[in-house]
Assembly symmetry: D2
Homo-oligomer: 139 residues x 4
């Protein structure tokens, strides 16, 4: 987090978005990507893997989407806000769908409980950033 904010502060270009909020959202996105990657793998390693097939699939989708969205937000040069808005919308939706599925297994599998939290956390940051981006143009 400290690193992310320092990098944004030393970036030559300025954009109309609160730097602290942006840094927190980027951190939440990379954390969610990592957590979903491990949750998919932990589910795959469980004895009852058949009951976790949908969870694994959504974890993989959510991890890829969070990574891509995190990369977009890590750039400040010549942003296209309508594009960033569309990707943030897809990402918030991925975090919701994946988080809901993880929550269904939360009592059985602690890794699903932690992952559901990471997804909810990330979903909230994406939605809040969506409200604050210039022009605020979702697709």
């Amino acid at each position: 987090m400290k690193h992310i904010q320092e990098m944004l502060q030393t970036h030559p270009r300025s954009i109309g978005v609160d730097e602290r909020r942006l840094a927190e959202t980027i951190a939440a996105l990379y954390e969610c990507a990592q957590t979903c990657t491990t949750c998919a793998d932990a589910c795959l390693g469980e004895e009852m893997v058949e009951s976790l097939v949908r969870c694994i699939r959504l974890n993989l989708d959510c991890a890829a989407i969070c990574e891509t969205t995190g990369a977009l937000l890590s750039r400040r040069t010549e942003p296209d806000w309508s594009l960033i808005g569309a990707q943030l919308t897809a990402c918030a939706h991925a975090c919701k769908v994946c988080g809901d599925e993880c929550r269904r297994h939360a009592e059985m599998h602690e890794h699903c409980r932690i992952c559901a939290e990471a997804c909810r956390h990330c979903e909230q940051f994406c939605n809040e950033l969506l409200q604050s981006i210039p022009a605020h143009a979702a697709a």
Copy 2:
């Protein structure tokens, strides 16, 4: 393309989407990801790189989004169509924005002309698939 269709045909799960159209869309997405990656790098290698800064940035965004969308469509097990719809919407938008920017440099740089075509091609496939997916629920 042949490989993609064979893999879909031997997949144990069936989904309500035309297999040929799906395979063509996946091929367009991976091709667009590769083309945008090379176009960003070709722009970076030009003498007049300053005039191509926005093009490079959008190429990088579009490449990441196409790769992620291509991975989502490559999966058929337990798809969440509302999520796939939201990501396809973001991807079509990325291809539009990036293709428009590349077109502005098409007379000057042949790699931008080819990349603009790849983006337009991919945008069309994404939009057509959006019309045909079950429930057709964009975010």
Copy 3:
């Protein structure tokens, strides 16, 4: 493939590598990434998923490594050949390990048979390119 070669030919920078061979390797890498992504998902969709856990894991690793290696080779501006050599070495190894595992399931699952072929194909291209890159410095 046609697109890849056109993009390389219109790139402003020249490197000391045969363009056709390079384009074929890039095509093999993106194809292998896509095939492994679908094979992981097809295995996940099988009734006997427990017997395919190792195959799924290696498919996911191989897909990520091929995508990254494909992106590296898609760039021609200021290449660091020792770095490209090290990544190609890791990629050839990933294709070998993943292909060997897929082959074990080839009689049972047609998608594993096709994926094993894609891996072997990609491994060969990586190894051949490794022999021809300037300085040829693996890590």
Copy 4:
């Protein structure tokens, strides 16, 4: 970091690697991926972008390699240690090459100084983990 360690601790499979060290390495990899992504973009946004072309290229390579390596280490089910070793070797090399280039611009650009540190930090963690993985088989 806390999240990463919790996810590893609740994973059903055990591997012969110190959990804390593994979690620190994963954190360093995702941080380095994010930092390199922002450094490439910050360089692209500088007025003297021509002098930073090599830095941008290596930042993009290093970001992709760190992300892939981070995903591999985030999985504990059925690991292939020779493959992980080969990818860690490539990643340590990418961090070295990219960090060296960033350091050359560190006095001029603060974002390059921070990025050089993130690369060095990540390189050290990769090299240390390489010494401790079972069989310790680099490619």
